[in-house]
């Protein structure tokens, strides 16, 4: 057997991700683009699943598929921007886009082939338990992350206050 079931599933998912990513930038309708993006994110979640890291897979589903894409769709619905977006692309733009893509692809390939695959660095078999992740996240020792955790928490709080400040009704204006 040259090819295992896991590899077959990986190739199917990878192909689906590629097709959907291309479709999500070439489609003319903004809501369809969001839907294809959703499929790409599903595929990424599935790849984490294949790697046996279900925690990250579930986070991927929760944060991106269930959070960000819902937010996109919601804002598209509320702003009613469902007009067709097929723009004419000029020659200069096309050339620069192709050039950027090529450079990007070359960079990624260079990094992949010079650094080798991370396959042998990941401990195989047992999945990292969620308890350990949680303890590391709020630990203060070496390789533990309480400071970034708190900083992100404060950042989110600031974002929330900012959002409320923008969204809330002005009482004085309402009385007039």
């Amino acid at each position: 057997m040259g090819i295992t079931l896991q590899e077959i599933v990986f190739y199917v998912v990878a192909a689906a991700i590629m097709v959907c990513s291309i479709l999500s930038v070439t489609t003319g309708k903004i809501l369809r683009a969001a839907t294809y993006l959703l499929f790409v994110l599903f595929g990424t979640g599935a790849i984490y699943g294949i790697l046996g890291y279900t925690f990250l897979g579930a986070v991927q589903l929760m944060v991106y598929a269930g959070g960000i894409v819902v937010l996109y769709v919601f804002s598209i619905l509320l702003t009613q921007s469902d007009k067709n977006m097929k723009y004419k692309i000029g020659k200069a733009k096309l050339v620069s886009v192709l050039l950027t893509t090529l450079i990007g692809a070359a960079l990624v390939l260079f990094l992949v082939f010079t650094n080798g695959f991370a396959l042998n660095m990941i401990p195989q078999g047992e999945e990292l338990p969620a308890r350990e992740i949680g303890l590391d996240l709020i630990g203060t020792g070496k390789y533990q992350y309480v400071l970034p955790f708190e900083v992100v928490g404060v950042l989110l709080l600031a974002c929330m206050i900012g959002g409320i400040l923008i969204a809330r009704k002005n009482k004085e204006e309402e009385e007039k």
């Binding site: 809501l31 369809r32 839907t35 598929a65 269930g66 959070g67 619905l77 969620a130």
Partner: protein, 366 residues
């Protein structure tokens, strides 16, 4: 404490035997593929059968609360064949195509809703060794997968190209996103109490007493918050303003016909079952038998009832509670729904989380 009763109906040895028997005649990859296929078919059949049972139950319960008899003509005295007949009828209906709508998204939306529903459905712990999707973050995966459903609802509302559907979809979206917070916080409370996110381990940790008894007042408060938020999450009355027959025809699925409508309908009933099943898992001990401390004879009899019967029985009990709520309370307005969540339920569930932390730290849970 002697816990040998947990192994009376353990299904794992059986599945292991089947797996090794298959592996002896074919390569392992093919065996896993075939097993996956069979399990998938079993999930779908179970899903359809449960939906039929639940719809029949809903009609009977609704009739009882409205002092009616309910279906009683088709299939003998109790109208038992009414719902199967309805299923056959809906299967023969044409699936209509709308003008001026996005066909791709229109056809995709019911599948997204049903995908979320089936993914969460396969995480339910039916019996010892009887879980279908088993991962060490099971309950978190349930929360994650159930958040896909709202996308299907939003897309359905938008792509139907009608004002009723879009109002229904936006209402439903706002409501589901809000109530996910309460659900997440109460689930977190119970995860903290059991100390694990693995669904099977949450159930096993309740071998010496269900969480609702072990966590006393705090767990009961979390249970009530979970039931309210779960009802909203399943889009059922008094939170059915996404559909609101009197105002919006049928809300986000107004323009759907045939089996596409059937998918939304199926998902609605199965989401009810899943909400109840997760509540059973978290609070009522999943497939654990009912024990009273001291009554050894009684406990021994309870142990001989298979786990799957306990699980289904408890789940249907909670389904009944939710139906009771649905047919007793009038519908809320959208502003009342959002006020209830943001001003009362979410602060309350944060408080419950805090109380549970205090109880856990000082050893006040049993």
């Amino acid at each position: 404490m002697n816990q040998s009763f947990l192994d009376y109906y353990n299904l794992q040895p059986l599945f292991m035997a089947i797996h090794s028997a298959l592996c002896s005649v074919m390569p392992e990859g093919l065996a896993i593929f075939l097993e996956g296929l069979v399990v998938g078919v079993i999930i779908l059949v179970l899903y359809a059968v449960l939906a039929i049972v639940l719809i029949y139950m809903e009609r009977k319960v609704c009739a009882a609360f409205q002092c009616r008899i309910g279906p009683n003509r088709v299939g003998g005295k109790g109208g038992l064949l009414q719902v199967p007949a309805d299923v056959l009828k809906i299967l023969t209906k044409e699936i209509i195509e709308l003008k001026n709508s996005d066909h791709f998204l229109y056809n995709l939306a019911p599948f997204l809703v049903i995908l979320a529903s089936i993914l969460t459905f396969s995480c339910l712990p039916w019996n010892k060794g009887g879980e279908i999707l088993h991962m060490n973050i099971g309950i978190f995966f349930v929360l994650a997968a159930s958040s896909i459903g709202v996308l299907g609802i939003l897309l359905a509302g938008w792509s139907s190209n009608s004002k009723y559907t879009i109002i229904g979809a936006v209402r439903s979206g706002a409501m589901i996103i809000s109530y996910e917070l309460s659900i997440g916080l109460t689930v977190l409370t119970m995860v903290m109490m059991s100390g694990t996110m693995d669904i099977q381990e949450i159930v096993t940790s309740q071998a010496n007493g269900w969480n609702i008894f072990k966590g006393h007042i705090v767990a009961i408060a979390a249970f009530i918050i979970y039931l309210i938020a779960g009802n909203a999450e399943a889009n059922r009355g008094p939170f059915d303003l996404a559909e609101a027959e009197q105002e919006l025809t049928a809300g986000y699925h107004t323009e759907y016909s045939g089996m596409h409508f059937g998918f939304f309908y199926l998902a609605e009933y199965l989401n009810l079952f899943i909400t109840a099943g997760i509540a059973t898992t978290l609070f009522l001990g999943g497939w654990m038998p009912f024990h009273i401390a001291g009554l050894d004879g009684f406990n021994a009899v309870m142990d001989y009832i298979p786990g799957v019967i306990w699980f289904v029985g408890k789940t249907f009990f909670i389904v009944f509670l939710l139906m009771w709520i649905r047919w007793t309370f009038p519908r809320l307005r959208i502003d009342q729904v959002l006020t209830l969540e943001w001003k009362y339920l979410m602060p309350a569930s944060l408080l419950v989380l805090l109380l549970m932390t205090i109880c856990k730290v000082f050893g006040l849970v049993f």
